[in-house]
């Protein structure tokens, strides 16, 4: 498994843009791109569930080097709520319906652009972790909130 590096993010961004995929870096990986210091191993992508966007996601993932069977491609086209990919150049979680966010378009309007990437706002990243309310989310929230405060003073 290759590690996710900045050039991986650039490649993902370039290919997703080429295919016109509507997506947001999300979760801890999104926060890291905004400057948050912590560790993670996978890339969380919040993707628009519209059928044409799902088609574009499949094409973009195949170009990135993900090995998707016909069945897996069809599941992505259908926009199943959560898809975990460990069959490509880096680990990706595709999230079509994150906890705490009603509609992709709302999160898209609140997005932040940094390093050329569309990233969910810290409000949405934190709000989703609060709604998910898993043990690991509860543990990470105080530091994420600190980061959001810090970020507000460094815009």
């Amino acid at each position: 498994m290759a590690v996710f590096e900045f050039r991986s993010a650039q490649e993902l961004g370039r290919i997703f843009d080429q295919h016109g995929v509507k997506y947001l870096f999300f979760g801890k990986s999104g926060a890291i791109l905004l400057g948050y210091s912590d560790t993670t191993q996978d890339v969380d992508l919040y993707v628009d569930k519209q059928r044409d966007n799902c088609e574009k996601i499949v094409a973009a993932l195949l170009e990135l080097g993900f090995r998707l069977t016909e069945k897996e491609q069809e599941e992505i086209r259908r926009g199943k709520d959560f898809i975990q990919l460990r069959n490509g150049p880096f680990d990706v979680d595709l999230i079509f319906a994150p906890d705490g966010i009603e509609r992709f378009d709302d999160a898209w309007k609140r997005r932040v652009e940094k390093h050329g990437f569309p990233i969910a706002s810290m409000d949405d990243i934190i709000g989703s972790k609060q709604a998910a309310n898993r043990q690991k989310d509860r543990e990470s929230l105080p530091r994420l909130l600190s980061f959001m405060e810090w970020l507000r003073g460094h815009k």
Binding site: Y36, S37, T40, K80, D81, I83, G127, R134
Partner: protein, 69 residues
């Protein structure tokens, strides 16, 4: 949003991270750590987040922290 106490001591870390190049920051942040069960399949999909949460609860070791309990 819940009212959680912020820790300004974390800010030193954020200041230090901001001084690193984005390439170095990403290198420091994305670290592959094997997670049992979770990393043992190349592909998984769930119809709903509820189904995913239930699968996590029933299949993942508790110490990974994916449980809501």
């Amino acid at each position: 949003m819940a009212n959680l106490e912020c820790n300004p001591a974390d800010w030193e870390d954020f200041e230090a991270a901001a001084k690193r190049s984005i390439e170095q920051h990403i290198r420091n942040s994305f670290v592959h750590t094997y997670k049992p069960v979770l990393d043992d399949a190349e592909y998984r999909s769930f119809e709903s987040m509820e189904e995913y949460r239930r699968w996590c609860k029933e299949n993942l070791p508790e110490w990974l922290g994916y449980s809501r309990d």
